[in-house]
């Protein structure tokens, strides 16, 4: 549980990784992405494409580099988006090829040994590739000496004389990304769903989440809270969890089957805070174990920093005509105030400033002061 806490905001807790189908599959990613995806902060050897945890990949590409060692081959594979090293272990069986040649001379008769030898030979020949051959590799991903590589668990030469394997894959990949890898992995909902055990859980969760977001927003607004920690607001969500299981009979059921009451509240709060962050209502100035959230509209220092940036930079010739672009403001404020500020939070702050007539938008993404 300790490691779970230290994980980054966008990394789902490791306990839930198994719920993502991508995790147990060989992910068919572009090599470019394989080289760029970040390693998990919780468990080394696990990588994240968006928020999908994965450690095994499936790659198809042209061999452009080759090195042979006693026990393995090292192939550089190019899929036109990137090049990655693949460590392919040689099979023990290949070593004793010498004596297997004896089995000849039984012409015409079906000889199991002979057939087996042929099979091994065929297998071996498909594992020895030259530059220019097409290679299919599946294996786990690892980073050694700052370099990503694939430890092959299976690899073979693909015969593709008219490129149809390559073409089919090229046509498949964008679709696969759109349908699967680019869709966010939403475990916590499933986890919460398991907690309620009621039928129609998913919609139940959504409405509960909607309510808790509303409650929290209302609270922050009315009380003009500038910053808070999760445990400060946890009690606000208690009525939400308690109400559906108020009758004694269902309560007994829930306690025996689902997670405990505090876990449910924690999960709900976690999701709520995530949503509020995504909307830019709140943000974390620094990512530290101490979970401190700043309320965007109440953060006087943030608002001042934004105003200053726009005020100063609008004087510069470059921005004189149109004002500062939002991305410029974002990078300046990140330098000045908090590296962790999201664009959404900045947008909320800008809107707030504009409502107060502190700044003026000239286009939908440029801001200036009078």
């Amino acid at each position: 549980m300790a490691s779970e806490q230290s994980g980054a905001e966008d990394e789902p807790p490791s306990l839930l990784w198994g719920l993502d189908p991508v995790f147990s599959a060989y992910a068919r990613l572009y090599i470019k992405d394989i080289l760029q995806i970040r390693e998990s902060r919780q468990v080394p050897g696990i990588y994240f494409y968006k928020n999908h945890p994965l450690f095994q990949v499936d790659v198809l590409g042209t061999v452009v580099y080759k090195r042979e060692r006693e026990d393995f081959y090292c192939y550089g594979v190019d899929d036109s988006t990137g090049v990655i090293n693949c460590l392919c272990w040689k099979d023990e069986k290949w070593r004793d090829q010498g004596d297997s040649v004896k089995g000849k001379g039984h012409g015409g008769v079906f000889n199991v040994e002979e057939q087996l030898r042929k099979l091994c030979e065929a297998q071996r020949s498909r594992c020895m590739l030259e530059i220019g051959d097409l290679l299919q590799v599946r294996g786990s991903l690892k980073t050694s000496r700052e370099q990503r590589e694939i430890m092959a668990s299976s690899f073979y030469k693909v015969s593709d004389p008219v490129m149809d394997v390559q073409i089919a894959r090229m046509l498949d990949m964008p679709q696969l990304y759109r349908d699967c890898y680019n869709k966010p992995f939403q475990v916590p909902c499933a986890e919460l769903e398991a907690g309620t055990t009621d039928a129609g859980g998913a919609s139940n969760i959504q409405s509960m989440l909607g309510q808790s977001v509303r409650i929290l927003k209302e609270f922050l607004k009315v009380k003009e809270v500038p910053k808070f920690r999760p445990y400060d607001v946890e009690y606000l969500l208690h009525p939400l969890i308690r109400s559906p299981v108020s009758s004694t009979s269902t309560r007994q059921e829930a306690t025996s089957v689902g997670p405990s009451f505090p876990t449910q509240v924690k999960n709900l709060l976690k999701e709520t805070l995530k949503l509020l962050q995504r909307e830019g209502e709140i943000f974390r100035k620094v990512l530290s174990p101490d979970e401190l959230y700043h309320v965007t509209e109440q953060d006087k220092d943030l608002l001042a920093a934004i105003r200053d940036v726009i005020q100063e930079d609008s004087k510069r010739e470059k921005y004189a005509e149109k004002g500062c672009h939002i991305l410029h403001v974002l990078s300046s404020v990140r330098q000045r105030y908090s590296r962790n500020l999201s664009r959404e939070a900045l947008e909320v702050a800008l809107k707030f400033l504009e409502c107060n007539s502190d700044i003026i938008s000239t286009t939908d993404s440029h801001y200036t002061v009078l």
Binding site: Y65, G76, D79, V83, G132, P161, M163, M170, M173, P174
Partner: protein, 137 residues
């Protein structure tokens, strides 16, 4: 240690690319990594010079590129067949035509060219879309 990825390009893009890039980019384009795919037909092969000419038709124009085959020899040239090649573009100073130094030259005669072009374009569009999305965020 590993070579740069060989990005898909159509043959007719090679020379236009380099011309458009202009003088300031020429040093950069001097060694340009790419894989050449598309309707490439081997039209001639001069073994003594280690040079092959690949041609391609696009928009009723014939385009061609010279391929230096030193790295892929010996190979069995089939004149008129379709090839896929992967290598570096070298554009010497003052020379109007780019030379491709092939690292891989594979015969893929019989390839469905239209489908291959579609696949290349799909892939490009996918990355373009993604870059745009990333830029917008």
């Amino acid at each position: 240690m590993l070579p740069s990825p060989a990005v898909f390009h159509f043959l007719w893009e090679i020379n236009t690319h380099l011309v458009e890039d202009g003088a300031s980019v020429r040093t950069f384009a001097h060694l340009h990594h790419l894989g050449l795919f598309g309707r490439l037909r081997l039209t001639s092969y001069l073994p003594e010079e280690s040079k092959a000419i690949l041609t391609s038709h696009h928009a009723s124009m014939q385009h061609q590129v010279s391929v230096q085959t030193t790295f892929v020899e010996p190979f069995d040239p089939i004149v008129g067949a379709q090839y896929v090649t992967l290598g570096e573009i070298d554009k010497a100073e003052g020379c109007s035509e780019a030379i491709l130094r092939a690292r891989v030259l594979n015969c893929v005669d019989g390839v469905d060219v239209a489908l291959l072009q579609k696949a290349i374009n799909e892939q490009r569009n996918f990355f373009k879309e993604r870059d745009n999305e990333a830029g917008a965020q």
